[in-house]
Structure formats: C-alpha cells, structure tokens
C-alpha cells in the first residue's frame, strides 16, 4: 500500500505544488466605501467617473482651466483602481511605470496612510485623491462622483 505522506515529488510535482500554492493565494477584492477629496481650490464640487479616471490615468491634467494632479492612497488603492479605473492595482502600477520609463509622465505622489493623503491634498493646490469614507477630511473638500 502506498504511503502518501512519504511519497517523493519529482520536478513536475514540485512545479504543480508551487502553482497550486500560488493559485490558492488569490483573494477577493473587498468593496469598501471611498470618498473623493480635493484641495479646496479645485473649482468643482462634483466630478464624473470618466473625468476621475482620466485624471488618475494622467490623461486629464486640468478641470475648468485649473491644474489638477492625482494623489495615491496606498491603503485603498486596490479597491479604487478596480472600481474606478478598471485595473488591478498592479496593472495601475505598471501603467504609471510605463509612462515614467517612456518619458511621458511622472509617478503620482503616494502615501500609505489616509491621514497623510488628506494632509498632502490639503496643502497641495490641484491635488485630487480618495480615502475611505470614515477618514476625517479636514482642510479638503469632498467631491461628489456622478
């Protein structure tokens, strides 16, 4: 009778084990409420989802003639990227880096903490970002997404 616990794996068995381990790490994206915030000088109180996408894909750099720039909140990037930009967070990272290495864009400012994001947006003219809904947002305005 074969003793499964002592069965030796060949190279193919090891490859399958690595592949299975990698596949089992797949995680579902957890939907969570986000709000879009902007520096008080940004001259709008609402923004379309298409405009938001264009700003974060570096294709739109102004609103009503006023310069805008995206700011990344790393803590909720996965949700934002997936729901608003139609990309995985890794896909968005690759997109930004392709612009950087082709010489057609710069990496947006990025922060790990939502509090740091709010503080940066509050002091940077034209900054637009997103944070989880329960993040205190003093010194910035919240934009309604239509």
């Amino acid at each position: 009778m074969m003793q499964r616990g002592k069965q030796r794996r060949g190279p193919l068995g090891h490859a399958c084990a690595v592949l299975f381990a990698a596949l089992s790490m797949a995680g579902a994206v957890r939907a969570e409420g986000l709000k879009v915030i902007a520096h008080p000088d940004v001259p709008v109180s609402e923004i379309s989802a298409a405009e938001l996408k264009s700003i974060f894909l570096l294709m739109k750099t102004s609103i009503k003639g006023s310069r805008v720039e995206p700011v990344i909140d790393g803590s909720s990037l996965r949700t934002f990227s997936f729901e608003y930009l139609g990309k995985t967070d890794q896909g968005l990272e690759i997109y930004y880096r392709s612009r950087v290495f082709a010489g057609t864009g710069s990496m947006p400012a990025r922060f790990v903490s939502p509090a740091d994001v709010v503080a940066h947006v509050a002091r940077t003219r034209g900054a637009i970002s997103y944070v989880s809904e329960d993040t205190p947002a003093s010194g910035v305005k919240t934009l309604r997404v239509r």
């Binding site: 592949l19 990698a22 596949l23 790490m25 797949a26 995680g27 298409a50 264009s54 294709m59 739109k60 750099t61 102004s62 310069r67 997936f82 139609g86 990309k87 995985t88 890794q90 896909g91 690759i94 880096r97 392709s98 950087v100 290495f101 082709a102 010489g103 057609t104 710069s106 990496m107 034209g126």
Partner: protein, 396 residues
C-alpha cells in the same frame, strides 16, 4: 560584469529629492536572463549550451519645472549576446510642455510611439513576457525604431460618450544603432556599414472606446534611410537608399484580471543599392521589401504573485512571397512562427521572475535580423527551435 554592476547600483537608484524647490524623481530598472535552446543558437548567444548573456538596465531622472513643463532623461545599457556590447546610450532626454489636455509638445530625444509597446519594450517589468512577440518588437532591431531626435505633438480628446482619443504626431532624425542586429546580420555576408542616416515621421492614435476595457490603435511611420559601407566579398564601396512605410494596427482588451492583445504590423519599401557588386556589376539594383508580422496574446493574473500568459507570433519576411534573388531560400526562411507560454512571478514588490517557453518554427530570410544568424550557427540553421528563458527583473 555588467549584470553585477547593475545589481549593485540599481536597487539604490530610486530616490526622490528636492532641488531648488522642484521634486526630482529617480527611477531605474534592470534585468538578467538565462536562455537555453535545443537547436539553433538564438539572439547571437550560444543558447544551445545555455547562456546568461541577456542583461540590460536603465536609470532616469525627471522633474516638473512648472505646472506645464516637465524635463527628464534616461540612460540605457544592454548586452544581449553580441548586440549592445554594454554601451551606455542616451535613451531619451526631453522637455515636455503641456498647453492643455488637448495639445502638448515634447522635444529632444524622444521615444517613438508605435503600436502598443514600442516605447516601453525595454522594461521587462512592464510586460507579462520575458521576450515580447518578436514579430513586432524585435530585440535585434530595437535600436532602429526606439526613439528619434525631434519633436512630438501629443494630446487627447474625449468627445461626448465616444471614449478618449490620444494622439501623437512626430518627426525628426532616426537613430543609428552600430551594435544592433541589422549590422550584425549584414556583417555575416561581408557587408560593413560605416555611415547610417535617416529621418522619421509618423503618427499614432489610440482610442479608448466607450466599451469598458477595449482600446484600438493605429500607427504609421515613414523612415527613409541611407547606408554607406563596403561589401568586402563582392564589389567594394556601396550606397543604399531605403524607403520604408510602416503601419500597425492594435487591439487591447483588459477586463478584471484578463488582458488580451492583437497587433498586426507591415513594413513596405525598397532599397536601391548603388554599385552593389563593384566593377563589372550593374550600376544599381533595387530590392523590394514587404514584411509583415502579427501576434495574438492572452494573460491572466491569478493573484499578486502569479500571472500566466501565452502568445502566438508570426513574422513573414517579404510577406512570404518569392522575390528576385531569394527564390533559392528554403521554406523555413520564409517565416518565423513562435508559440510562447509564460509564468510570471512577482516575488517582491520590485522584483519579478519569468519562466517562458518558446516553440519556434522557421528562422527568416537573410534580411530578417530576428534572432537567427548564420555566424552563430555555422552548421546551418535548423527549421525548429525550442527555447527556455528565465528572466529576473527589478525596477523601482
């Protein structure tokens, strides 16, 4: 040696600092590959006995001087077998002024936008593949199409409910690549180029359609070139004037963790060679060229660690037609078909490892310059090549 230098320098290359009130970003990338083939030696390397001679890397700096003006530059070095020779080149260096979302101007040495990936082909981290489909993004000929010294006008429009149109129109001088596959291939026939000059003009449009995830693209590039050199076997000094028109059509569909690409490119033109065979030969000969290539690819990201993909790529020198002087070529010289399958492991945030298999059929004609060279295969090229590539990449 080059790999060791890049490994030591690049992980510490990322930085962001302020200079005279401006934020300066520094980014870098590096990759090291291992190739092993069962038949032909590939990409000028002794791959049939295993080769680590695939190393490249780059570093860039950029900063925004005003809200509309951005400047930057990138250096690039590569050694791929006998290509590149570890020579440091200025990859791009430009000033970029954006008037508004619709119009901007970029001047200097600028990456050439052609198809989905021409301007980003060097950075392996950006792609699923260890080798991009060589029918369109040939490592050998990269230096001839990667950039131009001139001006780009670019911008985007978002008509109501029609998605976004992004355009680039450009013109300038085309680069010379003394260590590329074109010259390497010619040298195997005793032809040595001493001078190369040319111009480039073209346009690229990418339409991000209203259908979520679907992008369509079209590119056009005209690049007349003049080569001056010497045929050491037959003839002596010669001059070649080449006219070439390049077109590409691209489709990309991304949805959730899927990405599907299709691209087709065609190069038409001819080369008129003065004094091709020296005294006693004809004063000039014209060689027509009409090559085409296409690929279809699909990739799926399972999670942060693993992405798996496959592509099928076909290159047809002279569109697989008989042309004068090339009738003697065997069938395997009339195409390069490549079926690739890749597993990409993003082992850490800035590190990735790719394991890729290629199952190739054919090797192209003498003017193809795509991986297969007579001087690296003195016993003769074989019709089939199976190739394993393992490539480690870093970027930050």
């Amino acid at each position: 040696m080059l790999a060791a230098l890049l490994i030591c320098v690049l992980p510490s290359a990322y930085a962001q600092f302020s200079l005279a009130g401006h934020v300066v970003q520094v980014h870098g990338f590096f990759s090291q590959g291992f190739l092993y083939s069962d038949q032909n030696n590939y990409l000028t390397m002794p791959t049939s006995s295993g080769s680590f001679a695939l190393t490249d890397g780059g570093v860039n700096l950029s900063t925004r001087l005003t809200s509309h003006l951005r400047v930057g530059a990138q250096g690039y070095v590569r050694k791929i077998g006998n290509l590149g020779n570890g020579r440091v080149t200025l990859d791009w260096a430009s000033a970029d002024y954006s008037f508004n979302d619709h119009v901007g101007i970029r001047a200097g040495k600028v990456k050439t936008v052609f198809g989905l990936y021409n301007d980003t082909q060097d950075v392996e981290y950006l792609h699923t593949w260890a080798l991009l489909p060589q029918s369109l993004y040939s490592l050998d000929l990269r230096g001839l199409t990667i950039s131009h010294l001139g001006v780009d006008i670019y911008g985007s429009f978002t008509p109501h409910r029609l998605g976004t149109f992004a355009y680039t129109i450009y013109g300038g001088k085309s680069p010379s690549d003394p260590t590329g596959g074109n010259r390497y291939a010619l040298s195997s026939y005793g032809i040595y180029i001493s001078q190369m000059s040319g111009t480039v003009k073209g346009a690229d449009v990418k339409w991000t359609t209203p259908l979520a995830g679907l992008m369509l693209g079209g590119s056009f590039l005209d690049g007349p070139q003049t080569l001056i050199g010497k045929n050491e076997i037959r003839g002596g000094p010669f001059r070649s004037d080449t006219v070439q028109h390049n077109t590409a059509f691209s489709v990309q569909y991304t949805r959730a963790n899927w990405r599907l690409d299709f691209e087709h490119a065609r190069r038409q033109g001819n080369a008129t060679v003065l004094n091709p065979y020296g005294i006693g030969g004809p004063p000039s000969l014209t060689f027509p060229r009409d090559s085409s290539g296409w690929y279809v690819s699909g990739a799926y990201r399972f999670n942060r660690l693993l992405e798996i993909g496959t592509y099928h790529s076909r290159f047809l020198p002279n569109a697989n037609r008989n042309v004068e002087g090339e009738n003697f070529l065997p069938p395997a010289a009339r195409h390069i078909n490549d079926q690739a399958i890749t597993a990409r492991f993003d082992v850490k945030r800035y590190w990735d490892l790719k394991v890729e298999g290629h199952f190739m059929n054919g090797y192209g004609d003498p003017a193809t310059s795509r991986g297969f060279y007579p001087q690296n295969n003195p016993a003769g090229l074989q019709p089939r090549t199976n190739l394993l590539i393992i490539r480690l990449g870093f970027n930050r």
